[in-house]
Symmetry: C2
Subunit: 404 residues, 2 copies
């Protein structure tokens, strides 16, 4: 059995996005004032909600929830019934498969809350869990906390010509080895790639064959760039009771500060999630639940405009990154780029620290997403366009300065 | 090892406060329209925040947080540094021992979130955990989810002349048997009794002797009635690193709809809690954290007025309950009464259901708090005074009607 000491060392947050302020890494070289490295600091560890502001009407919806009073402060643990009813139709239309508002949906404290509850409801001590590498850093940490065993499946996003590049043979091997749960994000975080219809169909077929439950985090599935086809796993040929889809308005819609998300699918799992939520945090913040009334009901043109603004930043940053000689795949959705650094004369963690302290550029090291991604860094480009471009030019200077 | 199926059956929420709407209990007698049972329905399963409204300034503080934008949406996982700094001094003054804002405090999604994180940071599969019976229902459920083993210690609140009535020999036996963690609430939920200084000193001495970590939920410790002495465990003779105190503004201050709480004490445990919070829900809702700026800084006289209003309701309800022949101990703090029902001709769960469907009176069955409390019911009397008194008179009629 894993001791608590070991368990919590697997949950390290020293390099997690947003925790840089608590970083205690010692620099071998002191911060310098170097020509070309001045400029507005940019924190690429998360999106800038001052650049892309919360959706219109969200605050007003919160205030209406507050005015409702007790009924909105103390909701069922799974969230207000009529908010679930409103969302069910919209999510069914978006994902292409029916959503059961009463029994097949739960409102959670952010998509992070949904992910923890779903995994807590399906993974027990000693269970094998298939996780993708690279993928969202919390996946393997939650497996560790629950006492499960991660079975990694490779995502060769850089070489894939079509789709995300999932190693389907590896997935089959993981299921063969006994993994009964698969956790993945689509679009992938950090690489921003989208699974093809063929990949989704294969995942569904393998999951059916081995009786696997699939937990799919579609947090970024609304922010899709032109030319991207997107296949919803839950609409594929898969039993209703074997998939949970997780979404939320924290990213595209910039509502992270309200901490609300949603999980929908398998009634059995949702039922367990509600029991777990009852002891983990009782419910998603009551008044905050109300902002979900605005979700998928934004003003005409709002989503298109947000996508176009992000696509323009994406293209600018990719050009600078590539000009500097770094490899990067073009993300098809979401707001992350995940470039590969060239060989450097300093270690990757040290470079990330120098970048932050000398050039005012905060990024998330690739090791958060896979032990094999030490040479990559993740940038969330939901930022002010000019400041982001200037910061990536500083990154290019730093790469050049420290190239091996 | 406990299967997921068993684990989640231990997490049942069918009788949990606020979940009555999902109750599927079949009644042997259909609802009737009975003389004397009409009246405004009262839900005693939680406080009525429309009767006792959120503290003045809380909503304005939330709005200021929203206006702050990104810095308040994306805080450190342990919560905004300057809010922690503000609270540390106030909590130190209240509890009588220093609070380390930077390393010894974390903001959480409600006190429920704090409780789950503290227990998750200290309890692992197979660990023995001393819990009090009766006590807050989530304690033993969280132990079950974490794969631990609850070792109950009796609280004889009804017979105790002084203090809460903890069985100190039983506590010693539990520690002797290997329990390394003790979880308790003070004032006790559901009984509303407060531990005496002698009891707190004994708990501290035994915990020191056996190297036990104490998790103490002081959610209701501000709402104390006249004549009540309160001893903060953290100010007793106990190592700094062996106690975590949990509080929050959800009850006395009626801020439950914002979902914020705080845990403070042991740096080592707080550090683990932050790691766990990173994967459970990232952080307490960013904008909601701002309402904590108003906590312990309410307008002059506000707390006294709130206490007096609750004390008046308490005394009214106790008189009705006792007149109807039920035993009840006078709560010294908080807003719960926990009367014992006489022997009835129907089962306790059935009585609770009849009470709700025939008399419009929702209460929480005693079995949520202890397997030995089937004959008791909990009422949260933070309600409109006249409606609450009328509802308890209906309870008295129902008791008389179904007496064995």
């Amino acid at each position: 059995m894993m001791s608590l000491e070991n368990k919590f060392s697997a949950l390290g947050t020293e390099n997690a996005p947003g925790q840089e302020i608590r970083s205690a890494t010692v620099l071998t070289k002191p911060p310098l004032s170097i020509k070309g490295l001045d400029g507005e600091p940019v924190d690429f560890s998360h999106g800038n909600v001052d650049a892309f502001t919360p959706t219109p009407g969200a605050l007003e919806a919160f205030l209406a929830g507050f005015e409702t009073g007790g009924a909105q402060a103390y909701t069922e643990y799974r969230g207000t019934a009529n908010i679930r009813a409103q969302l069910a139709g919209r999510l069914a239309a978006f994902t292409g498969a029916a959503v059961d508002a009463d029994h097949g949906m739960i409102l959670t404290p952010g998509t992070q809350g949904a992910l923890f509850l779903t995994m807590g409801a399906t993974i027990s001590s000693g269970d094998k869990v298939a996780i993708v590498q690279p993928d969202y850093f919390a996946n393997r940490k939650i497996v560790a906390f629950l006492g499960g065993e991660s079975v990694p499946v490779r995502l060769d996003y850089m070489r894939a010509k079509v789709g995300a590049g999932l190693d389907l043979d590896g997935l089959s091997t993981a299921f063969e080895a006994g993994a009964k749960v698969l956790v993945l994000s689509n679009p992938n975080n950090p690489a921003g790639v989208v699974y093809s219809k063929a990949e989704i169909d294969q995942i569904a077929a393998l999951s059916n064959r081995y009786g696997v439950t699939v937990i799919i985090d579609q947090l970024y599935s609304r922010l899709r760039y032109s030319g991207t086809d997107y296949t919803h796993l839950r609409a594929a040929d898969l039993s209703d009771d074997s998939v949970i889809t997780i979404m939320g308005p924290s990213k595209t819609e910039s509502l992270s500060g309200f901490r609300v998300g949603v999980a929908f699918g398998s009634r059995k799992i949702i039922d367990r999630m509600e029991k777990l939520q009852a002891v983990v945090s009782l419910r998603a913040g009551g008044y905050s639940q109300s902002v979900l009334r605005t979700w998928f009901d934004e003003p005409n043109g709002w989503l298109d405009a947000r996508i176009q603004a992000h696509q323009a930043i994406r293209d600018d940053l990719l050009a600078i990154v590539r000009q500097a000689g770094m490899q990067v795949r073009t993300p098809e959705a979401g707001s992350y780029i995940f470039p590969e650094l060239p060989d450097l004369s300093v270690s990757a963690p040290e470079f990330v620290n120098l970048l932050r302290t000398q050039a005012g550029v905060t990024v998330t090291p690739g090791t958060e997403f896979s032990p094999h991604s030490a040479g990559s860094i993740r940038l969330n480009f939901s930022q002010k366009p000019a400041a982001a471009a200037a910061a990536v030019r500083r990154l290019a200077i730093m790469v050049q300065r420290h190239q091996a």
